[in-house]
Amino acid sequence: MDPETFRRDLGAWLDDNAHELAPPYEGAGSMDEQMAHYSYVKRSLYDAGFGRYGWPESVDGLGGSPLLRAMVGEEINLRGLCDPNPWTMIEVLVPTVIEFARPEVAAALVPPFLRGDEMWSQGFSEPDAGSDLASLSCRAAKTDGGWLVSGQKIWTSFIQYAQRCVLLTRTGEPNSAHRGITALLVDVDSPGITYSPIETMHGRLDFAEVHYDEVFVPTERLIGEENGGWQVAMDILPYERSTTFWHRGALLHRRCSDLVAHLVANGDHSDTAAKALGHAFQWLVAFRSQSRDTQHRLANGQQLGVETSIDKILITFAEQQLFGAVRDLLGGVVEFDDGIDAAMWRTDYLYSKAAPIYGGTAEIQRNIVARRLLDLGPES
């Protein structure tokens, strides 16, 4: 499928179905409403074919360039059809699962996720393994026909809606660091899994603390090699910083346009407003341009790697500039006002504070750039 034709057909289909695809709730909606609508939009796109392009036939995709997926996510976010975060989980997890899971497992489990029938989550971080991911301790002990997993994970997004979880476990000695990690694809309804959601400061239950108590995971759910989980994690992280961010960049563009509309409606054409707006917009464009280059490398079959840390730092900067400008220019809306628009601005402003933390902190990204791109040698 030629990307230009795809973009045109997709745009026309979204225009024709704008009413059906619009969120049935006002503002951000509750998390249950959001997730239900996400599944609906996903299913509609899948049934219309658009949601299957860019994925290989081995998982019931219709093939074609990954650019097609990037276009779908961009349009969904530009039109504000559903919350971007559930959408990102597919882009984060599925490419790596297709590459590293057993083909029959990927073929069976990925299609329901692409169709919106399922949600998946990512069990990486632990209370004592955040930035230092390689020190994780959630244990997978060998047993007949698989593993028994015991331990604790944290910041696991959407676990309360998820059917599967991509889990990093310790299979080597406790101090085996990145050499003794194994990735498993776990069913969330397995006996022994319990979770308690954590409320974020913007008032949502986006993620949870998850306990694993002798959870059985069969051998065929191994992703990659035994003790080869670090390679799986390192494969996932660049995806987390590529297509996912391309989608989020589209959301930021929409919110930047919303800010412009708000200023115009208030008759604010001041130099102060223009300067803050121009400053935020220029970093949005810098991110978008850099991310476009990343998308093209991905589409050309190049392996993404540490250079995606640049994308992460740029989008963080753009997001903070944009919502910083929102707070400065909206004259108290973020701090004081009622109503749906104010609540949305407040949510987005508060959520922008997470940008330098999730997916590898701002400091970790700078460490990667310094070590791997600037070749500055080891840290002291």
Binding site: P3, R7, L67, A70, M71, E74, L78, H253, C256, S257, L259, V260, A261, L263, V264, H269, D271, A273, A274, K275, A276, L277, G278, H279, F281, Q282, W283, L284, V285, A286, F287, R288, S289, Q290, R292, D293, Q295, H296, I310, I313, L314, E363, Q365, R366, N367, V369, A370, R371, L373, L374, L376, G377, P378, E379, S380
Partner: protein, 325 residues
């Protein structure tokens, strides 16, 4: 890119340009050397790619060659030569540098080092909301001002009144706005070439310089400054490259603004990493720093362009999606 020049040709020309610029000759001699290497033919065959190639080299070598005169004149449809210079807008601005006042024309702008040897000057005059392009005897603009921060004196201020009848209308060519966009794109590449040079100097210094028994490059505070510089450079460079895909005045403004910001950030961080030696006249760093300060002001700066861009968005009523997959 123009089909007339392929990537291999550009790489060869870039090497030749850099070698010519690195020779310590007077700007007029460098200009002549670049024309001898085929600069005019390159600019005619591939205006934006060719300019980007040459301006990256300008930034890397910190040469004071008068290539900006050629980029602007060429876009305006005026024949270029080492004897033709252009009067550029006043610092931090992009509007035409002259306006009529009675029988005179008041000029407030900048000229490049080429102005010393040029015979013809190109002048944009704004009157009644439109810009007219003229040529005049270059000696009218030879500025007595010798000062300025840049020891290479790549650009100098010119503030004169000239008789209106000294101007000869130029034949119709490209618009002033298109010349502004071409200049901004080229200057973005120059600023980024200079920023990459400064970053490379600071990186090498950090690796070579030991304190507390280890290279200062091992300290996180130093590493993060250099990493932030690279990120700003790469983000700006990506937009500057996108400008070569087709004319887009807003994208050119963004590229120049981002490149100026990246160059400022890099200069600040690089100087801090170089520390004492970077504040001396002995180290070459200050030549690049001072040229960056000057080039940043040309055709709108990192400090003036965000407001221009913001006003554009406000008048449009939306944030356009400039970069497509």
């Amino acid at each position: 890119m123009s089909g007339l020049v392929d990537a291999e040709d550009l790489a060869l020309l870039a090497t030749g340009f850099e070698a010519a610029m690195a020779e310590e000759t007077r700007p007029a001699e460098t200009d002549q050397a670049l024309f001898d290497l085929g600069w005019a033919e390159l600019l005619s065959a591939a205006p934006s790619q060719g300019a980007a190639t040459a301006f990256r080299a300008l930034g890397t070598t910190n040469s004071a060659a008068g290539l900006l005169d050629d980029v602007v004149a060429n876009t305006l449809g005026i024949d270029i030569s080492p004897q033709t210079c252009v009067v550029f807008p006043a610092p931090h601005q992009a509007k035409a540098p002259a306006h009529p006042q009675g029988d005179a024309v008041v000029v407030d702008g900048l000229v490049s080092a080429r102005d010393e040897e040029a015979t013809t000057a190109v002048l944009a005059v704004e009157a009644d909301g439109s810009v007219r392009i003229s040529t005049a005897d270059a000696r009218l603009f030879q500025s007595p001002v010798a000062g300025g921060v840049d020891p290479g004196r790549a650009f100098r201020r010119v503030s004169v009144e000239i008789p209106a009848d000294a101007l000869v209308p130029a034949p119709a060519g490209g618009s002033w706005d298109s010349a502004v966009a071409a200049a901004r794109t080229a200057l973005a590449h120059q600023l980024l070439g200079g920023a990459r040079w400064m970053l490379a100097e600071a990186r090498q210094h950090a690796i070579d310089r030991a304190q507390f028994g280890r290279p200062v490059a091992s300290f996180q505070a130093i590493r993060h400054k250099l990493a932030e510089s690279l990120v700003e450079i790469e983000g700006a460079a990506s937009v500057a490259e996108a400008c070569l895909e087709g004319p887009n005045p807003l994208l050119a403004a963004l590229a120049k603004s981002l490149a100026g910001q990246a160059a400022n950030t890099t200069a600040t961080h690089a100087q801090q990493v170089l520390a004492g030696i970077g504040f001396t006249a002995e180290h070459r760093f200050h030549y690049w720093l001072k040229r960056m300060l000057v080039v940043d002001t040309l055709f709108g700066s990192a400090s003036s362009l965000p407001a221009e861009i913001g006003h554009h968005l406000l008048s449009r009523g939306a944030a356009p999606r400039l970069i497509q997959l």
